[in-house]
Amino acid sequence: MTAARSFARRSSDWLPPVVVFVAVLVVWEVSFLALQVKAFLIPRPTVIAGALVDQWPILSRGLRYTGSEALFGLLTGVALGTAAGLATARWPTARQALIPIGTGMSTIPIIAFAPITLNWFGLESPLPRITIVALMTFFPVMVNTIRGLTEVDPAALELMASYAAPEGAVIRRLRIPNALPYWFTALRIAVTLSVIGAVVGEFFGGPQYSIGNYVTNMTGQFKYPNAWAAIIIACALGISLYLVAVAAERIVMPWHRRREALGQQ
Protein backbone atom coordinates (compact mmCIF):
# COMPACT_ATOMS: atom_id res chain seq x y z
CA MET A 1 0.00 0.00 0.00
CA THR A 2 1.40 3.40 -0.91
CA ALA A 3 1.76 6.14 1.69
CA ALA A 4 -0.73 8.35 -0.13
CA ARG A 5 -3.39 5.66 -0.19
CA SER A 6 -2.74 4.85 3.42
CA PHE A 7 -3.14 8.51 4.32
CA ALA A 8 -6.32 8.78 2.28
CA ARG A 9 -7.74 5.73 4.04
CA ARG A 10 -6.78 7.05 7.46
CA SER A 11 -8.16 10.52 6.73
CA SER A 12 -11.46 8.92 5.74
CA ASP A 13 -11.40 7.39 9.24
CA TRP A 14 -10.89 10.59 11.20
CA LEU A 15 -12.19 13.30 8.90
CA PRO A 16 -15.98 12.79 9.33
CA PRO A 17 -15.95 12.92 13.16
CA VAL A 18 -13.67 15.98 13.11
CA VAL A 19 -15.97 17.82 10.70
CA VAL A 20 -19.02 16.96 12.81
CA PHE A 21 -17.21 18.04 15.99
CA VAL A 22 -16.20 21.43 14.56
CA ALA A 23 -19.71 21.98 13.20
CA VAL A 24 -21.22 21.25 16.62
CA LEU A 25 -18.86 23.76 18.25
CA VAL A 26 -19.78 26.48 15.75
CA VAL A 27 -23.54 25.88 16.08
CA TRP A 28 -23.18 25.78 19.88
CA GLU A 29 -21.28 29.10 19.95
CA VAL A 30 -23.52 30.96 17.52
CA SER A 31 -26.87 29.71 18.82
CA PHE A 32 -25.98 30.22 22.51
CA LEU A 33 -24.81 33.73 21.71
CA ALA A 34 -28.02 34.47 19.76
CA LEU A 35 -30.31 32.93 22.40
CA GLN A 36 -28.45 34.53 25.33
CA VAL A 37 -28.11 31.21 27.21
CA LYS A 38 -26.83 31.84 30.76
CA ALA A 39 -23.26 30.71 31.47
CA PHE A 40 -24.29 28.78 34.62
CA LEU A 41 -26.37 26.45 32.45
CA ILE A 42 -23.84 25.81 29.71
CA PRO A 43 -21.15 28.34 28.75
CA ARG A 44 -20.18 28.99 25.14
CA PRO A 45 -17.10 27.17 23.71
CA THR A 46 -15.05 30.39 23.53
CA VAL A 47 -15.79 31.14 27.19
CA ILE A 48 -14.71 27.62 28.19
CA ALA A 49 -11.59 27.98 26.04
CA GLY A 50 -10.81 31.25 27.84
CA ALA A 51 -11.15 29.55 31.24
CA LEU A 52 -8.97 26.71 30.01
CA VAL A 53 -6.11 29.11 29.16
CA ASP A 54 -6.66 31.17 32.29
CA GLN A 55 -6.70 28.17 34.66
CA TRP A 56 -4.04 26.12 32.84
CA PRO A 57 -1.47 26.20 35.69
CA ILE A 58 -3.85 24.56 38.15
CA LEU A 59 -5.61 22.41 35.52
CA SER A 60 -2.33 20.96 34.24
CA ARG A 61 -1.42 20.04 37.81
CA GLY A 62 -4.81 18.39 38.23
CA LEU A 63 -4.38 16.56 34.93
CA ARG A 64 -1.06 15.10 36.10
CA TYR A 65 -2.47 14.13 39.49
CA THR A 66 -5.78 12.66 38.35
CA GLY A 67 -4.16 11.10 35.30
CA SER A 68 -1.63 9.32 37.53
CA GLU A 69 -4.40 8.03 39.78
CA ALA A 70 -6.34 6.71 36.80
CA LEU A 71 -3.24 5.18 35.22
CA PHE A 72 -1.90 3.48 38.35
CA GLY A 73 -5.36 2.20 39.26
CA LEU A 74 -5.83 0.96 35.70
CA LEU A 75 -2.46 -0.79 35.58
CA THR A 76 -3.10 -2.43 38.95
CA GLY A 77 -6.63 -3.54 38.05
CA VAL A 78 -5.67 -4.81 34.60
CA ALA A 79 -2.59 -6.64 35.90
CA LEU A 80 -4.49 -8.31 38.74
CA GLY A 81 -7.51 -9.07 36.52
CA THR A 82 -5.31 -10.66 33.86
CA ALA A 83 -3.38 -12.64 36.46
CA ALA A 84 -6.60 -13.85 38.09
CA GLY A 85 -7.97 -14.83 34.67
CA LEU A 86 -4.79 -16.69 33.68
CA ALA A 87 -4.56 -18.42 37.03
CA THR A 88 -8.12 -19.69 37.10
CA ALA A 89 -8.82 -20.45 33.46
CA ARG A 90 -7.12 -23.82 33.79
CA TRP A 91 -9.44 -25.08 36.51
CA PRO A 92 -13.07 -25.37 35.39
CA THR A 93 -14.44 -25.27 38.95
CA ALA A 94 -12.56 -22.08 39.83
CA ARG A 95 -13.74 -20.57 36.56
CA GLN A 96 -17.37 -21.53 37.08
CA ALA A 97 -17.22 -19.95 40.54
CA LEU A 98 -15.42 -16.81 39.42
CA ILE A 99 -17.34 -15.83 36.26
CA PRO A 100 -20.70 -15.25 38.01
CA ILE A 101 -18.98 -13.58 40.96
CA GLY A 102 -16.93 -11.39 38.63
CA THR A 103 -19.97 -10.48 36.55
CA GLY A 104 -21.94 -9.75 39.70
CA MET A 105 -19.15 -7.67 41.21
CA SER A 106 -18.81 -5.58 38.06
CA THR A 107 -22.44 -4.47 38.45
CA ILE A 108 -21.76 -3.12 41.97
CA PRO A 109 -21.31 0.68 41.96
CA ILE A 110 -17.83 0.48 43.43
CA ILE A 111 -17.66 4.25 43.41
CA ALA A 112 -20.01 4.14 46.43
CA PHE A 113 -17.07 2.80 48.42
CA ALA A 114 -15.08 5.98 47.77
CA PRO A 115 -15.94 7.68 51.11
CA ILE A 116 -14.94 4.48 52.94
CA THR A 117 -11.60 4.20 51.18
CA LEU A 118 -10.87 7.74 52.38
CA ASN A 119 -11.05 6.36 55.93
CA TRP A 120 -8.56 3.64 55.01
CA PHE A 121 -5.86 5.77 53.45
CA GLY A 122 -6.51 9.35 54.61
CA LEU A 123 -7.53 12.53 52.82
CA GLU A 124 -4.08 13.42 51.47
CA SER A 125 -3.35 10.09 49.80
CA PRO A 126 -4.12 9.21 46.14
CA LEU A 127 -4.58 5.59 47.26
CA PRO A 128 -8.38 5.83 47.75
CA ARG A 129 -8.86 6.63 44.02
CA ILE A 130 -6.24 4.14 42.91
CA THR A 131 -8.04 1.45 44.91
CA ILE A 132 -11.41 2.41 43.45
CA VAL A 133 -10.08 2.40 39.89
CA ALA A 134 -8.26 -0.90 40.41
CA LEU A 135 -11.45 -2.50 41.77
CA MET A 136 -13.60 -1.10 38.95
CA THR A 137 -11.26 -2.35 36.21
CA PHE A 138 -10.36 -5.68 37.80
CA PHE A 139 -13.62 -7.52 37.17
CA PRO A 140 -14.26 -6.84 33.48
CA VAL A 141 -10.64 -7.69 32.73
CA MET A 142 -10.76 -10.92 34.72
CA VAL A 143 -14.07 -12.06 33.22
CA ASN A 144 -12.99 -11.32 29.65
CA THR A 145 -9.60 -12.95 30.14
CA ILE A 146 -11.28 -16.14 31.36
CA ARG A 147 -13.76 -16.04 28.46
CA GLY A 148 -11.02 -15.53 25.89
CA LEU A 149 -8.90 -18.34 27.29
CA THR A 150 -11.77 -20.81 27.48
CA GLU A 151 -14.09 -19.96 24.57
CA VAL A 152 -11.82 -21.74 22.12
CA ASP A 153 -12.97 -23.61 19.00
CA PRO A 154 -13.29 -27.27 20.16
CA ALA A 155 -11.90 -28.41 16.80
CA ALA A 156 -8.76 -26.34 17.43
CA LEU A 157 -8.32 -28.15 20.75
CA GLU A 158 -8.69 -31.48 18.93
CA LEU A 159 -6.11 -30.32 16.41
CA MET A 160 -3.72 -29.62 19.27
CA ALA A 161 -4.53 -33.03 20.77
CA SER A 162 -3.72 -34.65 17.41
CA TYR A 163 -0.25 -33.07 17.65
CA ALA A 164 0.03 -34.38 21.23
CA ALA A 165 0.71 -30.74 22.13
CA PRO A 166 1.69 -30.20 25.76
CA GLU A 167 -0.59 -27.96 27.85
CA GLY A 168 1.91 -25.10 27.73
CA ALA A 169 1.88 -25.08 23.93
CA VAL A 170 -1.93 -25.10 23.89
CA ILE A 171 -1.99 -22.07 26.19
CA ARG A 172 0.71 -20.17 24.34
CA ARG A 173 -0.24 -20.94 20.75
CA LEU A 174 -4.02 -21.24 21.02
CA ARG A 175 -5.59 -19.93 24.22
CA ILE A 176 -3.64 -16.71 24.64
CA PRO A 177 -3.91 -15.54 20.99
CA ASN A 178 -7.60 -16.46 21.15
CA ALA A 179 -7.99 -14.36 24.33
CA LEU A 180 -6.36 -11.21 22.92
CA PRO A 181 -9.49 -9.72 21.26
CA TYR A 182 -11.49 -10.36 24.46
CA TRP A 183 -8.72 -8.84 26.57
CA PHE A 184 -8.45 -5.69 24.47
CA THR A 185 -12.23 -5.24 24.58
CA ALA A 186 -11.92 -5.37 28.37
CA LEU A 187 -9.02 -2.91 28.24
CA ARG A 188 -11.14 -0.38 26.36
CA ILE A 189 -13.90 -0.71 28.95
CA ALA A 190 -11.34 -0.47 31.78
CA VAL A 191 -9.75 2.69 30.34
CA THR A 192 -13.12 4.44 30.23
CA LEU A 193 -13.91 3.30 33.77
CA SER A 194 -10.52 4.42 35.10
CA VAL A 195 -11.04 8.14 34.40
CA ILE A 196 -14.62 8.04 35.68
CA GLY A 197 -13.46 6.26 38.85
CA ALA A 198 -10.62 8.70 39.52
CA VAL A 199 -12.64 11.89 38.87
CA VAL A 200 -15.75 10.81 40.76
CA GLY A 201 -13.60 9.45 43.59
CA GLU A 202 -12.14 12.93 43.96
CA PHE A 203 -15.61 14.37 44.57
CA PHE A 204 -15.29 12.87 48.06
CA GLY A 205 -11.73 13.93 48.79
CA GLY A 206 -8.33 14.72 47.33
CA PRO A 207 -6.19 17.80 46.79
CA GLN A 208 -7.86 21.07 45.71
CA TYR A 209 -6.27 20.95 42.28
CA SER A 210 -7.35 17.35 41.47
CA ILE A 211 -9.90 17.41 38.63
CA GLY A 212 -12.88 16.03 40.58
CA ASN A 213 -12.29 18.21 43.60
CA TYR A 214 -11.71 21.27 41.40
CA VAL A 215 -15.01 20.72 39.57
CA THR A 216 -16.98 20.57 42.85
CA ASN A 217 -15.16 23.62 44.25
CA MET A 218 -15.71 25.75 41.13
CA THR A 219 -19.41 24.90 40.87
CA GLY A 220 -19.69 25.75 44.58
CA GLN A 221 -18.18 29.15 43.80
CA PHE A 222 -20.39 29.65 40.71
CA LYS A 223 -17.29 29.65 38.46
CA TYR A 224 -18.96 27.45 35.86
CA PRO A 225 -16.61 28.09 32.91
CA ASN A 226 -13.71 26.91 35.14
CA ALA A 227 -15.64 23.74 36.03
CA TRP A 228 -16.33 23.16 32.35
CA ALA A 229 -12.67 23.64 31.51
CA ALA A 230 -11.82 20.92 34.04
CA ILE A 231 -14.45 18.64 32.51
CA ILE A 232 -12.82 19.17 29.10
CA ILE A 233 -9.49 18.15 30.65
CA ALA A 234 -11.07 14.99 32.07
CA CYS A 235 -12.55 14.18 28.63
CA ALA A 236 -9.19 14.72 26.98
CA LEU A 237 -7.58 12.41 29.54
CA GLY A 238 -10.14 9.68 28.90
CA ILE A 239 -9.87 9.96 25.12
CA SER A 240 -6.05 9.95 25.23
CA LEU A 241 -5.93 6.79 27.34
CA TYR A 242 -8.52 5.18 25.07
CA LEU A 243 -6.47 6.01 21.96
CA VAL A 244 -3.38 4.51 23.61
CA ALA A 245 -5.38 1.31 24.23
CA VAL A 246 -6.57 1.24 20.61
CA ALA A 247 -3.03 1.84 19.35
CA ALA A 248 -1.70 -0.99 21.54
CA GLU A 249 -4.43 -3.25 20.17
CA ARG A 250 -3.46 -2.48 16.59
CA ILE A 251 0.20 -3.08 17.27
CA VAL A 252 -0.39 -6.38 19.07
CA MET A 253 -3.14 -7.70 16.76
CA PRO A 254 -2.65 -6.19 13.30
CA TRP A 255 -4.48 -9.19 11.78
CA HIS A 256 -7.59 -8.55 13.86
CA ARG A 257 -8.26 -5.04 12.60
CA ARG A 258 -7.80 -6.04 8.98
CA ARG A 259 -10.19 -8.93 9.39
CA GLU A 260 -12.75 -6.62 10.98
CA ALA A 261 -12.36 -4.20 8.07
CA LEU A 262 -13.00 -7.08 5.67
CA GLY A 263 -16.13 -8.02 7.58
CA GLN A 264 -17.54 -4.53 7.19
CA GLN A 265 -17.21 -4.44 3.41
Binding site: E158, L159, A161, S162, Y163, L174, H256
Partner: protein, 279 residues
Protein backbone atom coordinates in the same frame (compact mmCIF):
# COMPACT_ATOMS: atom_id res chain seq x y z
CA UNK B 1 -2.57 -50.05 -4.03
CA UNK B 2 -3.39 -52.80 -1.56
CA UNK B 3 -3.38 -55.29 -4.43
CA UNK B 4 -0.06 -54.09 -5.77
CA UNK B 5 1.49 -54.18 -2.33
CA UNK B 6 -0.02 -57.12 -0.49
CA UNK B 7 2.83 -57.11 2.02
CA UNK B 8 2.05 -53.51 3.07
CA UNK B 9 2.33 -53.16 6.82
CA UNK B 10 -0.81 -52.92 8.91
CA UNK B 11 -1.34 -49.24 9.68
CA UNK B 12 -4.76 -49.42 11.31
CA UNK B 13 -6.11 -52.50 13.03
CA UNK B 14 -9.51 -52.27 14.71
CA UNK B 15 -10.76 -55.40 16.49
CA UNK B 16 -14.26 -55.70 17.93
CA UNK B 17 -14.47 -51.95 18.46
CA UNK B 18 -17.60 -50.52 20.07
CA UNK B 19 -18.44 -47.02 21.17
CA UNK B 20 -21.34 -46.01 23.40
CA UNK B 21 -22.18 -42.41 24.24
CA UNK B 22 -24.04 -41.22 27.32
CA UNK B 23 -24.78 -42.95 30.63
CA UNK B 24 -26.62 -46.22 31.22
CA UNK B 25 -30.13 -44.77 30.80
CA UNK B 26 -29.63 -42.56 27.78
CA UNK B 27 -26.87 -44.51 26.09
CA UNK B 28 -26.57 -44.49 22.32
CA UNK B 29 -24.52 -47.14 20.62
CA UNK B 30 -22.55 -45.30 17.95
CA UNK B 31 -20.41 -48.22 16.86
CA UNK B 32 -20.64 -51.98 17.34
CA UNK B 33 -18.33 -54.88 16.42
CA UNK B 34 -16.08 -52.96 14.10
CA UNK B 35 -13.28 -55.00 12.57
CA UNK B 36 -11.15 -53.15 10.06
CA UNK B 37 -7.59 -53.45 8.84
CA UNK B 38 -5.93 -50.81 6.73
CA UNK B 39 -2.55 -51.40 5.15
CA UNK B 40 0.22 -49.03 4.25
CA UNK B 41 -0.44 -47.03 1.08
CA UNK B 42 -4.18 -47.62 1.03
CA UNK B 43 -6.80 -44.93 0.55
CA UNK B 44 -9.84 -46.06 2.53
CA UNK B 45 -13.10 -44.13 2.60
CA UNK B 46 -15.71 -44.53 5.32
CA UNK B 47 -19.18 -43.82 3.97
CA UNK B 48 -22.65 -44.12 5.42
CA UNK B 49 -25.74 -42.22 6.52
CA UNK B 50 -25.64 -39.60 9.25
CA UNK B 51 -25.30 -41.27 12.63
CA UNK B 52 -23.50 -44.37 11.33
CA UNK B 53 -20.44 -43.47 13.39
CA UNK B 54 -18.03 -42.94 10.51
CA UNK B 55 -16.57 -39.79 12.07
CA UNK B 56 -16.49 -41.48 15.46
CA UNK B 57 -14.48 -44.36 13.97
CA UNK B 58 -12.01 -41.87 12.50
CA UNK B 59 -11.69 -40.08 15.82
CA UNK B 60 -11.13 -43.42 17.54
CA UNK B 61 -8.25 -44.16 15.18
CA UNK B 62 -6.85 -40.73 16.05
CA UNK B 63 -7.37 -41.28 19.80
CA UNK B 64 -9.45 -38.12 19.98
CA UNK B 65 -12.03 -40.27 21.78
CA UNK B 66 -11.67 -43.71 23.36
CA UNK B 67 -13.53 -46.91 22.51
CA UNK B 68 -16.03 -48.45 24.93
CA UNK B 69 -14.87 -51.89 23.87
CA UNK B 70 -12.40 -53.65 21.59
CA UNK B 71 -8.97 -52.42 20.62
CA UNK B 72 -7.50 -50.07 18.04
CA UNK B 73 -3.91 -50.28 16.98
CA UNK B 74 -2.12 -47.77 14.79
CA UNK B 75 1.25 -48.79 13.40
CA UNK B 76 1.09 -51.78 15.74
CA UNK B 77 0.77 -49.58 18.83
CA UNK B 78 -2.26 -48.67 20.92
CA UNK B 79 -3.99 -45.62 19.35
CA UNK B 80 -2.99 -43.37 22.24
CA UNK B 81 0.69 -44.28 21.92
CA UNK B 82 0.45 -43.56 18.17
CA UNK B 83 -1.07 -40.14 18.83
CA UNK B 84 1.61 -39.29 21.38
CA UNK B 85 4.22 -40.45 18.83
CA UNK B 86 2.59 -38.10 16.28
CA UNK B 87 1.97 -40.90 13.83
CA UNK B 88 -0.87 -39.23 11.97
CA UNK B 89 -2.02 -35.88 10.58
CA UNK B 90 -5.64 -34.79 10.84
CA UNK B 91 -7.85 -32.70 8.55
CA UNK B 92 -11.28 -31.66 9.80
CA UNK B 93 -14.40 -30.56 7.91
CA UNK B 94 -13.67 -26.95 8.94
CA UNK B 95 -10.12 -25.86 8.09
CA UNK B 96 -9.50 -24.81 11.75
CA UNK B 97 -6.82 -22.29 10.83
CA UNK B 98 -5.46 -19.74 13.26
CA UNK B 99 -6.59 -16.27 12.18
CA UNK B 100 -3.55 -14.65 13.78
CA UNK B 101 -1.14 -16.72 11.70
CA UNK B 102 -0.27 -16.35 8.05
CA UNK B 103 -0.60 -19.29 5.66
CA UNK B 104 3.09 -20.16 6.12
CA UNK B 105 2.85 -19.87 9.91
CA UNK B 106 -0.29 -22.01 10.00
CA UNK B 107 1.54 -24.74 8.10
CA UNK B 108 4.44 -24.42 10.55
CA UNK B 109 2.22 -24.76 13.65
CA UNK B 110 2.74 -28.51 14.20
CA UNK B 111 6.46 -28.10 13.49
CA UNK B 112 6.72 -25.41 16.17
CA UNK B 113 4.94 -27.63 18.67
CA UNK B 114 7.18 -30.55 17.77
CA UNK B 115 10.30 -28.47 18.23
CA UNK B 116 11.64 -28.26 14.66
CA UNK B 117 14.36 -25.64 14.12
CA UNK B 118 13.30 -22.42 12.39
CA UNK B 119 15.26 -23.16 9.20
CA UNK B 120 13.74 -26.63 8.89
CA UNK B 121 10.24 -25.19 9.50
CA UNK B 122 10.68 -22.64 6.75
CA UNK B 123 11.97 -25.30 4.37
CA UNK B 124 9.08 -27.70 5.07
CA UNK B 125 6.55 -24.88 4.87
CA UNK B 126 7.89 -23.80 1.46
CA UNK B 127 7.78 -27.38 0.13
CA UNK B 128 4.22 -27.90 1.29
CA UNK B 129 3.00 -24.54 0.02
CA UNK B 130 4.29 -25.73 -3.34
CA UNK B 131 2.69 -29.17 -2.97
CA UNK B 132 -0.77 -27.69 -2.35
CA UNK B 133 -0.14 -24.99 -4.99
CA UNK B 134 -0.45 -21.98 -2.74
CA UNK B 135 2.78 -20.26 -3.76
CA UNK B 136 2.37 -16.51 -3.52
CA UNK B 137 -0.13 -16.80 -0.68
CA UNK B 138 2.38 -17.56 2.11
CA UNK B 139 1.92 -14.15 3.74
CA UNK B 140 -1.87 -14.09 3.57
CA UNK B 141 -4.13 -14.65 6.54
CA UNK B 142 -6.82 -17.37 6.49
CA UNK B 143 -9.73 -14.97 6.13
CA UNK B 144 -8.20 -13.65 2.91
CA UNK B 145 -8.51 -17.07 1.24
CA UNK B 146 -11.42 -18.94 -0.36
CA UNK B 147 -12.84 -22.06 1.32
CA UNK B 148 -10.94 -24.38 -1.02
CA UNK B 149 -7.67 -22.57 -0.42
CA UNK B 150 -8.19 -22.68 3.35
CA UNK B 151 -8.69 -26.43 3.16
CA UNK B 152 -5.47 -26.75 1.15
CA UNK B 153 -3.64 -24.96 3.94
CA UNK B 154 -5.19 -27.44 6.39
CA UNK B 155 -3.95 -30.35 4.25
CA UNK B 156 -0.47 -28.84 3.99
CA UNK B 157 -0.43 -28.36 7.76
CA UNK B 158 -1.46 -31.99 8.33
CA UNK B 159 1.36 -33.17 6.06
CA UNK B 160 3.96 -30.73 7.45
CA UNK B 161 5.60 -33.20 9.82
CA UNK B 162 5.47 -35.97 7.22
CA UNK B 163 3.07 -38.37 8.97
CA UNK B 164 2.61 -41.75 7.31
CA UNK B 165 -1.12 -41.69 8.05
CA UNK B 166 -3.59 -38.96 7.18
CA UNK B 167 -7.05 -38.89 8.79
CA UNK B 168 -9.58 -36.75 6.93
CA UNK B 169 -13.04 -36.04 8.35
CA UNK B 170 -15.28 -34.85 5.50
CA UNK B 171 -12.61 -32.35 4.47
CA UNK B 172 -14.46 -31.19 1.36
CA UNK B 173 -17.98 -31.41 2.81
CA UNK B 174 -18.35 -27.65 3.05
CA UNK B 175 -17.15 -26.94 -0.49
CA UNK B 176 -19.23 -26.53 -3.63
CA UNK B 177 -19.36 -29.39 -6.13
CA UNK B 178 -16.85 -27.95 -8.59
CA UNK B 179 -14.31 -27.00 -5.95
CA UNK B 180 -14.78 -30.41 -4.38
CA UNK B 181 -14.00 -32.23 -7.64
CA UNK B 182 -10.90 -30.11 -8.14
CA UNK B 183 -9.81 -30.82 -4.56
CA UNK B 184 -10.35 -34.54 -5.20
CA UNK B 185 -7.91 -34.40 -8.10
CA UNK B 186 -5.48 -32.42 -5.95
CA UNK B 187 -5.72 -34.99 -3.20
CA UNK B 188 -5.02 -37.83 -5.66
CA UNK B 189 -1.93 -36.00 -6.84
CA UNK B 190 -0.76 -35.39 -3.25
CA UNK B 191 -1.48 -38.99 -2.27
CA UNK B 192 0.51 -40.44 -5.17
CA UNK B 193 3.35 -38.02 -4.42
CA UNK B 194 3.54 -38.55 -0.65
CA UNK B 195 2.60 -42.27 -0.45
CA UNK B 196 0.61 -41.50 2.69
CA UNK B 197 -2.02 -43.92 3.94
CA UNK B 198 -5.33 -42.05 4.01
CA UNK B 199 -8.55 -42.73 5.93
CA UNK B 200 -11.24 -40.48 4.53
CA UNK B 201 -14.74 -39.88 5.89
CA UNK B 202 -17.33 -38.70 3.37
CA UNK B 203 -21.03 -38.88 2.61
CA UNK B 204 -20.49 -38.52 -1.11
CA UNK B 205 -20.57 -41.77 -3.08
CA UNK B 206 -18.84 -40.37 -6.21
CA UNK B 207 -16.10 -38.87 -4.07
CA UNK B 208 -15.52 -42.11 -2.17
CA UNK B 209 -15.34 -44.20 -5.37
CA UNK B 210 -13.12 -41.75 -7.20
CA UNK B 211 -10.55 -41.41 -4.41
CA UNK B 212 -10.38 -44.78 -2.73
CA UNK B 213 -8.71 -48.14 -3.06
CA UNK B 214 -11.42 -49.48 -0.73
CA UNK B 215 -14.77 -48.07 0.35
CA UNK B 216 -16.09 -49.10 3.76
CA UNK B 217 -19.89 -48.89 3.69
CA UNK B 218 -21.43 -48.35 7.11
CA UNK B 219 -24.99 -48.49 8.43
CA UNK B 220 -26.58 -46.69 11.33
CA UNK B 221 -28.11 -47.66 14.67
CA UNK B 222 -25.93 -49.24 15.69
CA UNK B 223 -23.04 -48.18 13.48
CA UNK B 224 -21.58 -51.25 11.75
CA UNK B 225 -19.59 -52.06 8.67
CA UNK B 226 -22.09 -53.54 6.23
CA UNK B 227 -19.82 -54.02 3.23
CA UNK B 228 -16.34 -53.27 1.98
CA UNK B 229 -16.10 -52.52 -1.75
CA UNK B 230 -12.72 -52.87 -3.45
CA UNK B 231 -12.24 -50.07 -5.94
CA UNK B 232 -10.17 -51.51 -8.79
CA UNK B 233 -10.09 -48.38 -10.93
CA UNK B 234 -6.62 -47.89 -12.46
CA UNK B 235 -4.13 -45.45 -11.00
CA UNK B 236 -3.46 -42.62 -11.41
CA UNK B 237 -7.03 -41.38 -11.23
CA UNK B 238 -7.80 -38.33 -13.33
CA UNK B 239 -10.71 -36.46 -14.89
CA UNK B 240 -11.34 -39.35 -17.30
CA UNK B 241 -11.74 -41.83 -14.44
CA UNK B 242 -15.17 -40.38 -13.68
CA UNK B 243 -16.36 -41.20 -17.20
CA UNK B 244 -15.38 -44.86 -17.32
CA UNK B 245 -17.96 -47.62 -17.23
CA UNK B 246 -16.23 -49.33 -14.29
CA UNK B 247 -16.54 -46.11 -12.27
CA UNK B 248 -20.32 -46.07 -12.76
CA UNK B 249 -20.56 -49.77 -11.88
CA UNK B 250 -18.68 -49.14 -8.64
CA UNK B 251 -20.78 -46.08 -7.78
CA UNK B 252 -23.87 -48.27 -8.26
CA UNK B 253 -22.37 -51.04 -6.15
CA UNK B 254 -21.66 -48.65 -3.25
CA UNK B 255 -25.09 -47.08 -3.61
CA UNK B 256 -26.78 -50.46 -3.47
CA UNK B 257 -24.72 -51.49 -0.47
CA UNK B 258 -25.95 -48.34 1.28
CA UNK B 259 -29.54 -48.95 0.20
CA UNK B 260 -29.73 -52.62 1.14
CA UNK B 261 -28.93 -51.63 4.69
CA UNK B 262 -31.58 -48.95 4.59
CA UNK B 263 -34.32 -51.40 3.79
CA UNK B 264 -33.49 -53.26 6.95
CA UNK B 265 -33.10 -50.11 8.98
CA UNK B 266 -35.82 -47.82 10.24
CA UNK B 267 -37.71 -45.67 7.72
CA UNK B 268 -36.60 -42.22 8.96
CA UNK B 269 -33.04 -43.02 7.91
CA UNK B 270 -34.11 -43.63 4.34
CA UNK B 271 -35.73 -40.22 4.24
CA UNK B 272 -32.62 -38.69 5.66
CA UNK B 273 -30.49 -40.22 2.94
CA UNK B 274 -32.90 -39.15 0.21
CA UNK B 275 -32.76 -35.63 1.58
CA UNK B 276 -29.00 -35.71 1.34
CA UNK B 277 -29.21 -36.86 -2.25
CA UNK B 278 -27.49 -40.17 -1.73
CA UNK B 279 -30.42 -42.40 -2.73
Amino acid sequence: MADQDPAGALVVEATGVGKTFGDAETSVTALQDIDLSIRSGEFVSLIGPSGCGKSTLLRLIGDLTSPSGGSIKVNGKPAQRARLDRDYGMVFQAPVLMDWRTVAKNIELPLEIMGYAAAERAKRSAELTKLVELEGFEGRHPWQLSGGMQQRVAIARALAFDPKLLLMDEPFGALDEMTRERMNLELMRIWSRTKTTIVFVTHSIPEAVFLSTRVVVMSARPGRISKIVDIDLPQPRNVDTRETERYFELVTEVREALRSREREAAAPDVDRIRAEGLA
